[in-house]
C-alpha cells in the first residue's frame, strides 16, 4: 500500500504533522495503536515556564542545546506557534493565548499554572486579573473533581472562594453505577435542557459571586455544550480540568482526527507498527501487526509514537530502546540513575528519547535515515516538568517536520 507520508502515532504531534501535510494535498496514513495522551489533556498546552512578565524567547534561550526547541532553532518558534494556532482553529478548536507569553490557568488542585494556549472555555487570565469572589461548583457524587480542595487552595492565594454542590436527576441516575461515575459519562448526559436546568440550579446559588468555576465535563464530541453552559450562567464562568479521562482532551482528539479525515487522510487505529525495511539509508516501508505481510510504503515516515506511557520508548533493566526499528536513543547511566528519589522532582528518564539531528531526522546505528523524522514526546532532550514544555514540543516539532517535508517538494 503506497502513501506520500506515513505517520506512526495519532496523538497531538502525529495529528498536527499529518494535518499540515494533508492540507497541502499529500496522501497521508496515520497508524496508531491506541488512544494518545491527548485524552488526558488539561485542555491547555504548555510551551515553557517563564519568569513573571518574561516572554518565551528569553526562557528558551536558557535551554541546553540538546533541547528540541534549540534544535529546531529559536528564530523559527514564533512562526511555528502561529501555524499551530491556525491548524487548531481550522479544526474547529477555539483557543486563547498569546503567541509570545504565558497566561495562567487553574489546575485540578487549585494551583495556578503557566500555559501557552487554552481551549476558550477553560480558565485563562493574567496574574493581575484577580477573579474576585469565586464559587466552585461540585456535582454531587462526582469524585474526580474536588471543589473544596480547589477553594481552599485559591483561598490560600487570597482569592475568596466558596463551594456549592448541584445535581440533576440525570446525574443522580448515573450514581447507581458509582465506580463509573466519571467525567466522560457525565458529559454524555449534559446536553440541551439538562444543561439549562443545571445552570438554573447554579444561578440560584451564585447570587453574590463574581466568577463561577466548573468541572470540565461538558462537550465530549463538540464544544457546543460547554459554550451553552457558559451562556446560561448569570455570571462569568470557566472550566477547570477534572481527573482523567479529560472531556476537553477527548474532544481535542476527536476534532483533530475528524479534520485529518476530512482532508482525505486515513487514520488506522488499533494497530501497532512492528518493523520496517531500510534500503540505502532510507526507510521504504513499515509493517503493522494486523496486516501480516502487507508493506506500507511511503516517501517519508514520521515517528510520533510518544514516550514511555505510549510505548514509543521501552525500557528493560539494562537499556532503553525504540521498539519499532531500534532507532538510536539518547539516555544516560544505568537503571539506578534513571529515576530521582523524589517522585515530584524532574525525573532523568523524562528527557530520554530518540536521537535526531537538527532536521529531526532519526538514525540507526549512527546512520541517518534521511526520510524518517521523529516528533513529539518521542524526542530526546526535553525536560517536561522543569521547563514545562510538553505540549509545545509536540506541537512545534510536528509542524516543523511537516515544513521540512513540504519544502523538499
Amino acid at each position: 500500500m503506497k502513501y506520500d507520508d506515513i505517520i506512526i502515532g495519532g496523538g497531538l504531534s502525529g495529528l498536527l504533522c499529518a494535518i499540515s501535510l494533508a492540507e497541502k494535498g499529500r496522501k497521508c496514513l496515520i497508524i496508531s495503536q491506541g488512544q494518545s495522551t491527548l485524552n488526558f489533556s488539561s485542555g491547555s498546552f504548555e510551551f515553557i515556564n517563564t519568569e513573571e512578565g518574561e516572554d518565551f524567547e528569553h526562557a528558551i534561550a536558557a535551554l541546553p542545546s540538546r533541547h528540541p526547541y534549540q534544535k529546531i532553532g529559536v528564530d523559527r518558534l514564533p512562526r511555528l506557534r502561529t501555524s499551530v494556532a491556525g491548524l487548531l482553529d481550522r479544526a474547529g478548536i477555539r483557543t486563547v493565548g498569546e503567541n509570545e507569553r504565558n497566561h495562567l490557568r487553574i489546575t485540578p488542585f487549585g494551583a495556578l499554572k503557566q500555559t501557552w494556549l487554552s481551549l476558550a472555555e477553560m480558565t485563562h487570565f493574567q496574574k493581575d486579573e484577580l477573579l474576585g469572589r469565586v464559587l466552585v461548583v461540585d456535582i454531587r457524587g462526582f469524585l474526580d473533581f474536588n471543589a473544596s480542595f480547589i477553594a481552599s487552595s485559591l483561598g490560600q492565594m487570597g482569592i475568596q472562594a466558596d463551594t456549592c454542590e448541584v445535581y440533576v436527576h440525570e446525574t443522580e441516575r448515573l450514581r447507581d453505577n458509582a465506580s463509573e461515575f466519571r467525567s466522560a459519562n457525565i458529559a454524555r448526559v449534559f446536553n440541551g435542557y439538562t444543561i439549562d436546568r443545571l445552570a438554573c440550579a447554579i444561578n440560584e446559588k451564585a447570587t453574590d459571586v463574581d466568577f463561577i468555576l466548573l468541572p470540565a465535563v461538558f462537550g465530549l464530541d463538540k464544544e457546543e455544550p460547554a459554550r451553552r453552559m457558559l451562556e446560561k450562567l448569570n455570571k462569568p464562568a470557566a472550566f477547570i480540568p477534572t481527573m482523567s479521562p479529560s472531556v476537553p482532551g477527548i474532544r481535542l482528539q476527536r476534532l483533530l482526527k475528524q479534520r485529518f479525515i476530512s482532508l482525505g487522510g486515513m487514520f488506522l487505529s488499533a494497530d501497532t507498527v512492528c518493523g520496517g525495511e531500510i534500503v540505502d539509508g532510507r526507510l521504504v516501508s513499515v509493517r503493522a501487526l494486523n496486516h501480516g505481510d502487507t508493506r506500507f510504503e511511503a516517501e517519508n515516515f514520521i515517528f510520533a509514537c510518544g514516550s514511555f506511557f505510549s510505548n514509543g520508548l521501552k525500557a528493560t533493566q539494562d537499556k532503553i530502546y525504540e521498539p519499532i526499528l531500534g532507532l538510536d536513543v539518547d539516555y544516560e547511566g544505568g537503571h539506578g540513575e534513571w529515576f530521582a528519589p523524589d517522585v515530584y522532582a524532574e525525573q532523568p528518564y523524562m528527557s530520554f528519547g530518540v536521537r535526531t539531528d537538527k532536521r529531526l531526522n532519526v538514525s540507526l546505528d549512527g546512520k541517518t535515515l534521511e526520510n524518517a523524522y521523529a516528533v513529539g514526546q518521542l524526542l530526546s532532550g526535553a525536560s517536561p516538568i522543569k521547563s514545562g514544555c510538553t505540549g509545545g514540543v509536540s506541537a512545534v516539532s510536528a509542524v516543523y517536520a511537516a515544513d521540512i517535508i513540504l519544502n523538499q517538494q
Binding site: M1, K2, L29, Q33, G34, Q35, S36, T37, N39, F40, R173, L174, D176, N177, S179, E180, R182, A184, N185, R188, S244, P245, I250, Q258, I261, M266, L268, S269, A270, D271, T272, A288, N290, H291, G292, D293, T294, F309, S310, N311
Partner: protein
C-alpha cells in the same frame, strides 16, 4: 490459556470512555471493570462480574482505544465462556446456530420469509422466545450459495490457472448468495478460479457470544483443518467471520492458527493489494453512478480492513464516496435481537443513523452483514457489501481483456 495482557492495564479508563455500551447503559460496569479489573478477581472466582458480561457487544472498540495493548474484549469473551454461568436457552440456541437454522429454513424459504414478517409471528417470538418484535429478520435465500455453486459455477473454476479458496460464511450461504456470486464474478474476471473449502462450518462467532464454547471449538477445528488442507489463500467477505477465524480462534478459543492466519484474508484486501501492485486490473462501467456512504463496522475498525475497501471504492469513476465517522451500529450479531437489549441497541446506533440520514446516499457500503440488517431496519437506506458494489459496477469484458483473459 490465560491472557496475561490484563496486567498491562494502567487504569486510565479510556476503554470505558470509548465503550458504546457504557455510553447508553448506566448498568454496564464497562470494559475496565469487566475486563482487566475483573480478571484479577476471577483468578479467585470465575463467576465474578458475570451478571454484567452479557452486555458486552464484543465490538472491541475498547481494545482500539487502550493505550496499553490490553486485549479487553478477548478477556471479556473468554470470561463469559469460562464462567459457566451462561446457560443458553432455546432462544440462544436458535440465534447462535446460524448453520442449523439456515439449513432448515432455506428449503422452506417461500413459507418462512413471509411468516417471519407477520406481526403475529413477531409477537409470538417476542412473547415465547424473547426476540424483540420490532426486529426484522433477514430473509432466507431460495437456494443456498453452496448449492448454486455446485450446480452453476464449480466446474468452470477449474479452467483458471490461478486459484483461491472462499470461506463464504452463513450469511452468503443462507441469506444472500449474491455476495458469493459477485465475488466469483470479480475474481473470475481477474483470472482467479474460486474454490470452496472441503468442509465449512459457521465460524462460531454467535456461539462464542452466546456461551456455547464447546460447540464453537468443534466447528473451529473443522474450519482450521479445511483451511490447512487448502494450503493457499482463503478469501472471506465478512469482517466478523474474518476476525473470528484469524483472532478469536487463538485469543478466545485457545486454538493455534499461526500457520494459516495470514492465508485467511478479506477478498477486498487481496484485490486491493493486487490492484496496487499492478497484478490485477479493474475496469468499470462508464454509466454507473451512485452516491455511497461507507460505514466502518466495528470489526473493520478493529482489523483496519477499511484501508483496503476505500481505495477500491474510489476506483469506480461514478461513485461519489462519503466516509461516515466510525461508530457502532448497535446490533452486535445476535445481541440486538434479544428483547431486553433492543433499546440499548438502537440507542448506540443513533449517532450512525443520523450521520447516514445526513449523507443521504444511494447505498451504505459495509462488509458486515449484521450492520446491514440493523441499518436497513433503522434507517431504510439500502446497505451493500463493497464486493457487490464492485461487481455491479464492473465492466466484465473490459476487465477480462485488461487481465489478458
Amino acid at each position: 490459556m490465560q491472557d496475561n495482557s490484563f496486567q498491562d492495564c494502567v487504569k486510565c479508563t479510556l476503554c470505558t470512555a470509548y465503550c458504546p455500551m457504557a455510553a447508553v447503559n448506566p448498568f454496564y460496569i464497562g470494559p475496565k471493570q469487566a475486563g482487566p479489573d475483573g480478571e484479577r478477581y476471577r483468578l479467585k472466582d470465575k463467576a465474578f462480574y458475570d451478571y454484567a458480561l452479557k452486555y458486552c457487544l464484543n465490538c472491541k472498540r475498547c481494545e482500539s482505544a487502550c493505550p496499553s495493548g490490553v486485549r479487553i474484549g478477548d478477556i471479556i469473551a473468554k470470561a463469559k465462556l469460562d464462567s459457566g454461568q451462561f446457560h443458553p436457552g432455546l432462544r440462544e440456541m436458535i440465534l447462535a446456530n446460524t448453520d442449523m437454522m439456515g439449513s432448515l429454513a432455506v428449503p422452506f424459504s417461500p413459507i418462512i420469509n413471509p411468516v417471519l414478517k407477520w406481526d403475529l409471528s413477531k409477537k409470538m417470538m417476542d412473547g415465547i422466545l424473547g426476540i424483540d418484535h420490532r426486529r426484522t429478520f433477514p430473509a432466507y435465500a431460495g437456494q443456498t450459495f453452496v448449492r448454486w455453486y455446485k450446480k452453476h459455477a464449480g466446474k468452470a473454476q477449474e479452467a483458471f490457472s490461478k486459484q483461491v479458496y472462499y470461506f463464504h460464511g452463513c450469511y452468503a450461504n443462507y441469506n444472500y448468495p449474491k455476495l458469493g456470486q459477485d465475488l466469483i464474478k470479480l475474481m473470475n474476471a481477474c483470472g482467479y478460479g474460486v474454490r470452496l473449502l472441503e468442509k465449512e462450518k459457521c465460524c462460531g462467532v454467535a456461539l462464542i457470544s452466546n456461551g456455547m464454547g464447546g460447540q464453537a471449538k468443534r466447528q473451529a477445528r473443522v474450519n482450521l483443518a479445511s483451511i490447512r488442507k487448502a494450503g493457499t489463500t482463503v478469501l472471506t467477505t465478512s469482517t466478523t467471520c474474518t476476525m473470528t477465524l484469524r483472532d478469536e480462534y487463538p485469543h478466545v478459543l485457545g486454538l493455534d492458527n499461526a500457520d494459516v492466519r495470514d492465508n485467511i484474508t478479506l477478498a477486498l484486501r487481496f484485490l486491493c493489494e493486487k490492484v496496487e501492485s499492478g497484478e490485477i486490473k479493474l475496469a468499470f462501467k462508464s454509466d454507473y453512478r451512485k452516491k455511497v456512504a461507507y460505514h466502518t463496522s466495528c470489526h473493520a475498525e478493529k482489523q483496519g480492513s477499511w484501508i483496503y475497501s476505500l481505495p477500491l471504492l474510489r476506483l469506480i469513476p461514478g461513485v461519489q464516496l462519503t466516509v461516515l465517522e466510525s461508530s457502532c451500529c448497535g446490533i452486535s450479531g445476535t445481541f440486538g435481537f434479544k428483547k431486553e437489549n433492543y433499546e440499548y441497541s438502537q440507542g448506540i446506533g443513533e449517532k450512525l443513523f443520523n450521520n447516514i440520514r445526513l449523507a443521504n446516499p444511494d447505498y451504505v457500503a459495509t462488509e458486515c452483514e449484521t450492520c446491514k440488517w440493523q441499518i436497513e431496519m433503522s434507517t431504510g437506506f439500502e446497505v451493500i457489501n463493497p464486493i457487490c458494489l464492485l461487481a455491479d459496477a464492473l465492466d466484465v469484458e473490459a476487465t477480462r481483456k485488461l487481465n489478458q483473459l
